[in-house]
């Protein structure tokens, strides 16, 4: 039996009919066509599917869609505003923190949450904040650099 849920995605309200076993990830990708959120494992182990639910990062492959009824969700598609890249997106591009790009959306949302809650994190705090997001391409070096750069430039 499908159930209707109401969610706000990137500021826009949506009414979606969902099956009880469908995950938030499936709804975003399949029903709403927001394929920027990636499925790397579907087991909560890679972080590629990270989105913010009411401002907090979650692995959307582990969250049942019915459980986010009434909540507000931020995905990668909502990060840039009016065609302008978010400072984190800009820094990822400038610092070479993106290679294949498959981890990037999840990584950016995890970083956004970090900087919103800890504007000047230490290097160790940055590493811990993205420890749930696997990146096989970069070895994390330039991702850490990019996040550090944004923290420092906003601090000034």
């Amino acid at each position: 039996m499908k159930r209707l849920i109401n969610i706000v995605v990137n500021g826009e309200p949506h009414e979606v009919a969902v099956n009880p076993e469908q995950t938030l990830l499936e709804i975003l990708r399949e029903e709403l066509g927001l394929t920027g959120t990636k499925k790397g494992c579907d087991q909560g182990e890679c972080g590629a599917c990270t989105v913010l639910v009411d401002g907090k990062p979650v692995s959307s492959c582990l969250v049942l869609a019915v459980s986010v009824n009434g909540k507000s969700i931020a995905t990668i598609e909502g990060l840039s505003q009016n065609g302008r890249l978010h400072p984190l997106q800009e820094a990822f591009v400038q610092h070479g923190a993106i290679q294949c790009g498959f981890c990037t959306p999840g990584m950016l949302l995890a970083a956004k949450y970090l900087l919103e809650n800890r504007p000047l994190p230490s290097e160790q705090e940055i590493k811990e904040a993205i420890a749930g997001n696997i990146c096989r391409c970069t070895g994390y070096v330039k991702i850490i650099e990019a996040i550090t750069a944004v923290a420092h430039s906003t601090a000034q």
């Binding site: 990636k38 499925k39 070479g96 981890c103 590493k127 070895g139």
Partner: protein, 799 residues
């Protein structure tokens, strides 16, 4: 200041914004109207005969559109290696036997993944379970179960490419039923070399199977158009033309009716070059049903069925003079390629090919044998054989150096090859910065200060350490080399550049972006040669219908082979542009100069014309002929000297990349846990076309190499994979990131575009021995197998 305007700079990659905003479309993101979903039924047994398959219940399930088995498909074989000596041994779906847990047996297309999954459960397969073998030692016993008993007939792909060499049946050379390939080579006089040696060591090393762990799962979308008889494919691929060739042959389609279309690839590392059964099945089902079909593998399937690095057992004997000169080396190794040959024939060639450029060893013998077992299939993975064999060679060299009381770095410096050396196969090292790389990496980890144990001679502390310290530090180093492309289908790359009325250009290339930044790098090459900015270039790539043929992004040929093709195409376009400008300005071409999209007459700056005007002029003056430049380049121009996989003869590549890798580790003597604190890689990649991209490639390699040195390992129990998830297969996460001190050595490769050569693969290979040597430096124990887990360190410390 650089003499170039566009290449060399660390310009941000052109696909960055698309990827940062989630707009980049990967194969898994492709969704077509009316699309069906496919799933694959796989063997639960490592070795079994198929008695019967009953698909009737699955076919009757509502929502199921088709079920296919090996019988439907008939006689179709393909493989990464398909030569007269090594005929293809893989089938899209098993017909008679299954040979590993995960082997493909049937495929279903249905209206949803859930229905397809349910249908798999309704297919009844009756098996007769056969005895199985799981290690090379078991597999080579005369009594071992034989995994491939039939000889395989037919014309190989290699022959169809017109590249057939003389064929020797490898089975005549090695008396092992389960052998799948053999490479053997020697030069000098090995016995005599050992007689000259002052010191000889013989050791055995084992390197573990590892997973690629590209973050994007493998997927294929196939869309057949019955009206025009055309098949469109979106694939997880590293070489669109190679996949098109193999798939069109397997599907019995004219090659021009198969189109591989562009999508981004979310990491590959070697694991997306083979043609896989799910790709064939998606295409076959789409052709059968006239509807698009998508098959996306789940993470467990990716771990199990999309290839792994070969586990290799290496016996190595090395003879050395008192002063550290290596005089003889004898290597014999066995690689386990699993249930099918995969890249077994290549890896036993590359364990030699990727390694012998490092040291100049006058007397050398090498034999590599690949064997079938009932394990998952092994294929190319970043470095392909080099990490395993470098682990053995440089671990042993470190031991020998210490026994002779020599500094391992000095011993390496004494034996490495140099620019100008000619390798035993005839390849010339037109560039080689190994000595500088060694010095750079040594400095990166403060080599002279950090060599704790070495300075203490015999007093290798055991247990918690002589001085009672729980954490002990040490440094280690290893070297490696890599090809810059090699002779493999389609053997060459072409490129095309079209100029536009506004002075900008479009580059058409058949290369494929995997994350390595090839679109950006090639765009820079084109922009530099044309005298325009990177912003003025659009790159159209990864589509077999609209781009010229390309070697593909494997064997690290992107920068050198395709880069040269692009440079030639841009030069061709520029030549045409200058000719038109000369005509318009009524001067000779030699009198012209260009900068910032403006063409000047030398010595008369008032006389000039913009690129835009000249391009428009070409359309007016030459009967509407717009400017299109073309270029092509072959990896190894001497066609008659293809490398022989068997004898490792012929020319291998136009240029070798080199690197030296050093690490500082900290060993917790209480738990055995090893942490890499510092990693320093000095790479000789020739001229770096894009500094940021080059650095990123090295950092990625270092991370992967560190993971494979310390924790990564495919765990199998009687052919069953036990850690097919990111949680249990431990690859590096952000908190494992060491401090990096990387550098590039000054080097220019005359064969490369602007002096560039390989960068994307090499720097995995040195990490294994570097870590092993550093652990030994720290706590005085030698670990002979990867990964160097806390268990192994602890039991060595206690032993």
């Amino acid at each position: 200041m650089s003499k170039y305007a566009v290449v060399g700079e660390g310009l941000p990659r052109i696909d960055g914004p698309e990827k940062a905003t989630g707009q980049a479309k990967f194969t898994v993101d492709i969704k077509l109207p009316g699309m069906l979903y496919g799933k694959i039924l796989r063997s639960p047994y490592p070795h079994a005969r198929i008695i019967s398959i009953d698909t009737s219940a699955a076919e009757a399930l509502p929502g199921v559109k088709a079920v296919i088995t090996g019988k439907d498909i008939g006689e179709v074989r393909y493989a990464f290696v398909d030569t007269p000596r090594y005929p293809a041994d893989e089938r899209p779906l098993a017909i008679d036997k299954v040979r590993y847990i995960g082997d493909e047996v049937a495929a279903v297309a249905a209206v949803s993944e859930a229905v397809a999954e349910e249908a798999l459960g309704l297919i009844k397969v009756e098996y007769e379970v056969l005895p199985a073998v799981f290690t090379p030692e078991e597999a080579i016993k005369p009594t071992a179960a034989v995994i491939h008993e039939n000889s395989l007939e037919g014309t190989s792909a290699w022959e169809e490419w017109g590249a057939a060499g003389r064929s020797h049946d490898y089975r005549a050379e090695v008396d092992i039923d389960n052998a799948s390939a053999r490479s053997a080579i020697s030069f000098g006089d090995v016995e005599e070399g050992f007689r000259q040696a002052d010191h000889i060591r013989e050791d055995s090393f084992d390197a573990a199977a590892t997973a690629h762990c590209a973050l994007e799962p493998h997927a294929a979308v196939a869309s057949y158009d019955p009206v025009n008889g055309k098949l469109d494919l979106w694939l997880s691929t590293m070489g669109i033309f190679l996949k098109r060739f193999v798939l069109s042959k397997a599907l019995k389609m004219p090659i021009s009716k198969v189109r591989v279309r562009h999508s981004y690839v979310g990491g590959a590392f070697g694991g997306k070059i083979d043609v896989f059964p799910y790709e064939f099945c998606a295409a076959y089902l789409s052709m059968k049903l006239g509807r698009p079909v998508k098959i996306e593998l789940d993470r467990e399937e990716v771990f199990t069925t999309t290839r792994q690095r070969h586990p290799i057992s290496i016996k190595i004997k090395t003879g050395i003079k008192k002063d550290g000169t290596i005089v003889a080396q004898d290597i014999k190794l066995y690689a386990d390629n699993g249930g099918y040959r995969g890249s077994g024939a290549i890896v036993v060639f590359l364990c030699h090919g990727f390694s012998f450029p490092v040291y100049n060893i006058p007397n050398y013998r090498y034999e590599g044998i690949a064997v079938y077992t009932n394990n998952p299939i092994r294929g190319p993975q970043r470095g392909h054989g080099a990490p395993q064999v470098r682990f053995a060679i440089d671990s042993q060299l470190d031991m020998i150096a210490r026994e002779l009381g020599l500094d391992p770095v000095e011993v390496m410096l004494k034996n490495v090859r140099h620019k100008g050396d000619v390798l035993p196969n005839g390849d010339k090292l037109n560039s080689c910065g190994l000595s500088d790389a060694i010095r750079g990496a040594a400095q990166g980890v403060n080599w002279t200060v950090g060599r704790s144990q070495l300075n203490k001679g015999e007093d290798c502390a055991k247990g918690s350490g002589r001085d009672g310290a729980r954490f002990r530090r040490g440094v280690g180093m290893s070297l490696c080399s890599m090809f810059s492309g090699a002779m493999y289908y389609p053997f060459a790359s072409a490129a095309m550049i079209k100029l536009h009325d506004d002075g900008s250009a479009t580059l058409f290339t058949g290369s494929q972006e995997l994350g390595q930044g090839i679109y950006t790098t090639l765009g820079q090459v084109a922009a530099e040669e044309l005298g325009i900015g990177l912003d003025d270039i659009r790159v159209v790539a990864g589509d077999t219908e609209i781009t010229p043929i390309d070697l593909g992004s494997f064997l690290s040929g992107g920068a050198l082979v395709t880069g040269n093709a692009v440079k030639l195409a841009a030069a061709d376009a520029r030549r045409q542009l200058l000719e038109v400008a000369a005509e318009i300005l009524e001067v000779k071409v030699e009198d012209l100069n260009y900068r910032n999209k403006q063409i000047f007459v030398k010595g008369n700056l008032d006389k000039s014309i913009s690129y835009a005007k000249a391009i428009q002029g070409s359309v007016f003056r030459k009967n509407g002929n717009p400017i299109i430049g073309t270029g092509s380049y072959k990896g190894n121009p001497e066609t008659d000297r293809y490398p022989s996989l068997a004898k490792a003869k012929g020319l291998f590549t136009s240029a070798y990349g080199f690197c030296a890798q050093a690490v500082e580790v900290e060993v917790d003597t209480l738990t055995g846990k090893v942490k890499v604190l510092k990693a320093s890689t000095f790479h000789d990649c020739g001229f770096p076309l894009n500094k940021t991209i080059v650095e990123g490639q090295v950092e990625g390699c270092v991370s992967m190499g560190m993971g494979q040195a310390l924790s990564e390992e495919i765990v199998l129990e009687k052919g069953q994979l036990f850690n097919a998830s990111f949680l249990n297969y431990r690859l590096p996460i952000a908190t494992d990131t060491p401090e990096t001190k990387d550098g590039l050595v000054d080097s220019l490769e005359p064969n490369g575009p602007f002096g560039a050569k390989e960068v994307g693969e090499g720097a995995v290979a040195g990490m294994l021995a570097a870590v092993a040597n550093a652990v030994n430096d720290a706590v005085g124990v030698r670990i002979y197998s990867t990964p160097i887990t806390p268990d192994k360190v602890l039991s060595a410390l206690q032993g």
